[in-house]
């Protein structure tokens, strides 16, 4: 129960981060970038900011929403779906962090926050899945 609550909270936080990034992007504004000296905009506007025309924050929104729903449902199938989602989210976030380091040469604090949230989600979901003993 504890890991499920934790996962739901993390999914909610990820939903908030993705929503903020998407709202600012849709408004045509760059996000507030507390660290990294303009790195957020560099990353946000780089050629890696979209996936087949879909802005990455939109993908994050869908991912986080699906994560929240599967976490809250809590039956064995939903738990397995949550596990796949969380692992995929964590791996893709690591890939995006790699792009920031080696391709874009700029860091976006919001994107790194999102990566940390996905890694935590993967850990919490995996522990929850193992504990449930389906």
């Amino acid at each position: 129960v504890t890991t499920r609550r934790l996962a739901a909270l993390l999914a909610l936080l990820e939903l908030a981060v993705a929503a903020y990034l998407e709202i600012e992007r849709a408004r045509g504004r760059s996000v507030a970038c507390p660290i990294g000296g303009g790195g957020c905009e560099t990353v946000q506007q780089s050629r890696y900011s979209h996936l087949a025309g879909i802005p990455l924050p939109v993908l994050g929104l869908f991912g986080a929403a699906a994560m929240l729903v599967t976490t809250l449902l809590g039956d064995p199938r939903a738990r397995t779906a949550a596990l796949v989602l969380a692992f995929a989210g964590a791996l893709f976030s690591l890939y995006l962090a790699g792009l920031q380091a080696f391709e874009i040469h700029a860091y976006c604090a919001w994107c790194l926050t999102s990566a940390v949230l996905w890694l935590a989600l993967a850990a919490a979901t995996a522990v929850g899945w193992l504990r449930a003993g389906d």
């Binding site: 760059s30 560099t42 780089s46 890696y48 996936l51 389906d134």
Partner: protein
């Protein structure tokens, strides 16, 4: 009794095995999903991301857009206009390119040319050292009263933001494109005055709490406001600050 325990142990073993397999399937599915996402992203994001200096786009369009508009200190339009629209932009910022391509032409034709307001450009480099290079070039173009055409031509040929595309070759090609004196351009671009002018704008933007580029400010007798980077918001802002004060 012993048999029941053995059966329970076997069942538990089977359950663990099945769980392990499902964990592996889940991990494998996640990996496959991510591989597919990465492939799609890599395929759809290719390109060199640098402008073609041997064949700059839009030289004639830029000449036409600014013909007959005198520029002084980075400002175009009626110098006696009571309202000033100021854009804080970065030449490497894609949103500024969108603004310059899609919004600025209408602002110029409907608000600046009739003399309702004058339009000022302030270069605020926020995208790293390569943006500072671009801002220095913009300063040098400003010294020859051609900041607006220089900025517009740059936006039309803008490279990928993740690439340090604003090289001295690009800077000079763009300067030639708008007919600048190249010797003077290079001298101004590398001067200490350029660095100082950029620092002044950056300090101003930070003091005013701007979050990014483009930021549009409209100043007139009734005050100064920050508006969204759309034509409707700017036109509305101009109306709000127009008229006699008080």
């Amino acid at each position: 009794m012993g048999k029941a325990r053995k059966t329970r142990a076997l069942r538990e073993q089977e359950r663990r095995r099945s769980r392990k397999i499902r964990m592996m399937i889940a991990t494998g599915t996640a990996v496959l999903l991510v591989v597919a996402l990465v492939v799609v992203q890599q395929v759809t994001s290719s390109g060199s991301g640098r402008p073609d200096t041997s064949n700059l786009a839009g030289i004639a369009d830029v000449k036409a857009e600014f013909s007959g508009l005198n520029e002084r200190a980075g400002t175009i339009g009626n110098p006696n206009a009571q309202v000033t629209i100021t854009e804080y932009g970065d030449l490497r910022c894609p949103l500024c390119k969108t603004f310059d391509n899609e919004v600025a032409p209408q602002v110029i034709s409907d608000i600046v040319r009739p003399g309702t307001a004058k339009l000022q450009y302030k270069t605020w480099p926020i995208l790293g050292p390569n943006s500072v290079e671009a801002a220095k070039a913009a300063y040098a173009a400003r010294q020859q009263n051609a900041l607006w055409p220089y900025a517009s031509l740059t936006y039309l040929n803008q490279g990928d933001e993740s690439v340090a595309w604003f090289t001295p070759t690009v800077a000079r090609a763009l300067a030639k494109g708008v007919g600048l004196d190249i010797t003077r351009f290079d001298k101004d671009r590398t001067s200490a005055a350029a660095t100082k002018a950029i620092a002044q704008v950056s300090n101003e933007a930070q003091r005013l709490g701007f979050e990014g580029t483009p930021t549009i400010r409209v100043a007139g007798p009734k005050g100064t406001i920050t508006v969204n980077a759309t034509y409707a918001a700017i036109a509305n802002g101009v109306q709000q600050v127009s008229g006699s004060a008080g």
